[in-house]
């Protein structure tokens, strides 16, 4: 009798466990899109100053060395010939 009760309880426990089983543990990873922060592109508006020194500074920003560094590199690259 005791054995029968034990078997009954064990089967009942298994049945209940099977009823509560909801599959493998769900992963908690959130989709990458949700986790990725929004990229903010900040665009600095072109200054429209007409102050002579501001304009002069902008003019100075267009000064370069005429590509001297690139030309020197080209000369170095050709040294194997």
């Amino acid at each position: 009798m005791k054995t029968k009760s034990a078997i009954f309880l064990a089967v009942s426990a298994l049945f209940l466990a099977a009823c509560n089983y909801t599959g493998p543990a769900a992963t908690t990873t959130t989709p990458p899109t949700a986790a990725t922060p929004t990229t903010t592109i900040s665009v600095t508006p072109t200054t429209a100053s007409t102050n002579v020194n501001d304009l002069n500074a902008e003019l100075n920003a267009t000064v370069d060395d005429g590509g001297q560094a690139d030309l020197n590199q080209l000369q170095k690259d050709a040294s194997g010939l």
């Binding site: 429209a48 100053s49 007409t50 102050n51 002579v52 020194n53 304009l55 002069n56 500074a57 902008e58 003019l59 100075n60 920003a61 267009t62 000064v63 370069d64 005429g66 590509g67 690139d70 030309l71 080209l74 000369q75 690259d77 050709a78 194997g80 010939l81």
Partner: protein, 188 residues
């Protein structure tokens, strides 16, 4: 009627055939086209040198494109600055000031910008083909092409420098009219 004499004709023909066609500087005249260059490169036996010549050809092409693009960007900016100077000058004129000197300088600057833009566009359209003659003269051929490219790029750069200087003169003229002190105006 004179009798046909084949001897002078043959002599003339031999002269035409025997006259050497001197290789002109390909980089300047563009006589050697890209197909001829390709054929001459593929005939180079030293694989290392062949690869280097091909790389130099590509690099020169890329450098010309890069530099002319930069110079055009600079010119766009210089032109935009000139437009803003002109706007300011016109406002000053409305206030009753004489801006004749500024107007003269503006016209000169516009001409200089147009000239520089033409120079840059001409430079952008140029091709530099290494004038390969013999394998032992590859170094000299590459050097000649590179030197020509460097000289041309420097000349184009100077046109842009001249355009910028002319705009700076407009700015100087405007500064005088409005009585503002202009600093940091020297350019090498």
């Amino acid at each position: 009627m004179k009798k046909f004499t084949p001897l002078p004709c043959l002599f003339a023909l031999a002269l035409i055939v025997a006259t050497p066609v001197y290789a002109q500087t390909a980089t300047r005249s563009g006589k050697m086209n890209r197909e001829e260059f390709r054929a001459k490169v593929s005939a180079i036996r030293d694989e290392k040198k062949k690869a280097l010549v091909e790389r130099m050809d590509t690099k020169m092409k890329e450098l010309n494109a890069k530099r002319t693009a930069i110079l055009l960007r600079h010119l766009d900016k210089i032109e935009e600055i000139l437009n803003r100077i002109e706007t300011r000058a016109l406002e000053v004129e409305k206030g009753g000031k004489d801006i004749a000197s500024v107007k003269t300088a503006v016209q000169k600057a516009k001409d200089a910008i147009a000239a520089a833009r033409t120079a840059v566009n001409v430079q952008a359209a140029k091709t530099y083909i290494i004038d390969i003659t013999t394998e032992d003269k590859l170094g000299a051929a590459v050097s000649a092409a590179r030197t020509t490219l460097a000289r041309d790029l420097q000349a184009t750069h100077q046109a842009v420098v001249a355009a910028r200087k002319s705009v700076r003169e407009v700015l100087t003229a405007l500064a005088k009219v409005v009585g503002e002190k202009l600093t940091n105006t020297t350019e090498k």
